[in-house]
Amino acid sequence: MILLTRKAEFSASHYYWNDAWSAEENERVFGKCSNRNGHGHNYTLEVTVSGEIDPVSGFVVDLKELKDVLEREVVRVYDHRHLNLEVPEFKTAIPTTENIALAVWKRLDGKIPDVKLHRVRVYELPDLFADYYGEP
């Protein structure tokens, strides 16, 4: 088995807010991330897949195909969007880095031919990331 990682980038805005809480509670828990006008990040997505190397092509996965899947399933939906207001999964889930990693996994799982999704890593900043391995 071998692991292969492909990166993609997107830029989006978001805010953190739980409707079940008061404004004060949201501000206490989420700090400046609770500003309802939103703020934005340049996100970097790292998708790692696992599989066997095809003896004929020498590929574990066709990189062009993987790139196209990332573009179609994630980047086109998230890039230059307001995640809370324009992306369906974040109508209910707060678009934290953790929840974005979970959502990207759901979007990609089963969509990449020949390989298994191993890890989704989302960088919100170069010094802050979340990993999801498909664990329940």
């Binding site: 079940a20 889930a93 979340a130």
Partner: protein, 151 residues
């Protein structure tokens, strides 16, 4: 659902690699320029990974502010702009980055209770990094491969 949060921190410190168990000549042979009696320094990066269930109310594994303040107090305030050899722990242990990595893990394991501490990666330079412990999720993967080195 279980996810992992990773956060990177930076600090600068000096050290000298030298063991009383060896002669001066042996220390020089083993540690090379890192044995310079005057010491030398690095800009270190520490990558902390914690894991846990994503809280449906917050969307978070843990509160980042709490992780930051814990690492600030336990690691950065203690080690930044110091000579690692003067630290209590390194009176009996050579301050290699391997040993430093284990000490950082021990300090955070004792102090951070808001999520499970999964692993610590220390970059001594952009070319050298160490990771301890090996996270369970990767251990399972290594076990599944059945061997760690090609025959």
């Amino acid at each position: 659902m279980r996810a992992y949060l990773g956060r990177r921190y930076r600090f600068s410190a000096s050290h000298r690699l030298h063991s009383d168990a060896f002669t001066d000549a042996e220390n020089q042979a083993i540690y090379g320029k890192c044995n310079n009696p005057y010491g030398h320094g690095h800009n270190y990066t520490i990558e902390v990974v914690v894991g846990g269930n994503v809280d449906p109310a917050t969307g978070m594994v843990c509160n980042l502010v709490e992780l930051d303040s814990c690492v600030q107090k336990e690691i950065l305030d203690r080690f930044d702009h110091t000579n690692l050899n003067t630290q209590a722990f390194f009176q009996r242990t050579v301050p290699t980055t391997e040993n430093f990595n284990i000490e950082v893990h021990r300090l955070l394991q004792a102090a951070f209770k808001q999520a499970e501490l999964i692993s610590i990666r220390v970059e001594e330079t952009s070319n050298n990094s160490f990771e301890y412990p090996v996270p369970m999720i990767r251990q399972r993967l290594i076990a599944k491969q059945g061997r760690t080195n090609p025959a």
